[in-house]
């Protein structure tokens, strides 16, 4: 029963060791799938009709739904950050579906989720400085100067808790299914794990992805207002 992230290759780049782990390889597979899907949709959008139907209809529905969701949460003026979070949403959703196929989801590794939440943190600080320039820094000293360390710790806790939420949910799903597969005989491993996958991997993973995106939007809104 192996719950660790396997190391597949070790390559040497300019004298430094780079470990190609299972997470990186699975991320490449997901990237390939999503790029092929995007290219297929782009090719099918060449004959653009004003009244959409088919693939164009689906694509427009998805993008418009997410755009309206971003406008509702962040506000009209700042909803230009929506495409980045649409990418995060689609990528993390594909990660959840990925673990149904027996491979380890990349978001079950803290590195992936910490990278995404660090990106959210950088976007939050950038939007704060861009739209509120000096007053964003002043808001750390806001009620009283003595509260500055507490405000600082609260800001640093945001990306950490954001990353741990998604990582903990995906890791617990992976552990549960690994335990199930390693402790049961072969004839109960055929149809029944599909229910466990559907609940613990897909449903909870999708919910946590939605939570990740909506909490990111709320952090950005808190930084610009």
């Amino acid at each position: 029963m192996n719950l660790e992230v396997n190391n597949l290759w070790v390559i040497n780049v300019f004298g430094h060791e780079v470990w190609i782990t299972e997470t990186i390889f699975n991320t490449w597979i997901i990237m390939a799938v999503l790029i092929v899907l995007a290219v297929i949709i782009r090719v099918k959008l060449r004959n653009f009709k004003v009244i959409p139907k088919g693939v164009q209809n689906l694509t427009e529905a998805a993008v418009e739904t997410f755009d309206n969701f971003a406008k509702d949460t962040v506000g009209d003026k700042f909803s230009y950050i929506a495409p980045w979070f649409f990418m995060v949403f689609v990528f993390l959703l594909t990660c959840c579906l990925f673990s149904v196929f027996g491979l380890r989801a990349p978001s079950a590794d803290w590195a992936t989720t910490f990278a995404f939440s660090l990106a959210t943190f950088i976007i939050m600080i950038f939007m704060g400085f861009k739209h509120r320039k000096g007053k964003y820094l002043k808001s750390f000293f806001e009620p009283n100067v003595i509260l500055f360390p507490i405000n600082l710790i609260g800001e640093i806790a945001k990306p950490i808790s954001l990353s741990f939420r998604l990582f903990g949910n995906m890791l617990s799903g992976t552990i549960l299914l690994t335990l199930y597969y390693s402790l049961t005989p072969w004839f109960v491993q055929i149809g029944i794990p599909a229910v466990l996958h559907a609940i613990f991997d897909v449903a909870f993973g999708a919910l946590q992805t939605y939570i990740f995106v909506i909490i990111s939007f709320m952090y950005v809104r808190g930084a610009v207002e």
Binding site: F164, R165, G168, N169, S172, L207, I211, I215
Partner: protein, 91 residues
């Protein structure tokens, strides 16, 4: 106490079990959030979508401290730094 490594590993397992005791208050917190959401949906069914979204965000916030406990338990069992230190110290 004859075998210090076995003692450290045993204490690590007990610590992992104790770390999950925060699940008690997590359950009560999430139940209160959900019960208030259901009650307000019954009072005003047309705001039901908005209440449902807010309820999910509130449940995720409450779930976070439960996950911190699970994280400590997993670190205790599988990546315990003190056990690794003892193993490298004993040679």
């Amino acid at each position: 106490m004859q075998d210090p490594l076995a003692f450290v590993i045993a204490i690590a397992h007990i610590a992992a079990a104790l770390a999950l005791l925060n699940g008690v208050t997590t359950t009560f917190g999430q139940a209160k959030i959900c019960s208030q959401a259901i009650e307000s949906m019954a009072r005003q069914p047309e705001a039901s979508d908005s209440i449902r979204s807010t309820m999910f965000v509130g449940m995720a916030m409450g779930e976070t401290s439960g996950i911190y406990g699970l994280l400590i338990a997993i670190v205790m069992l599988f990546a315990n730094p003190l056990v690794n230190t003892m193993v490298s110290y004993l040679g």
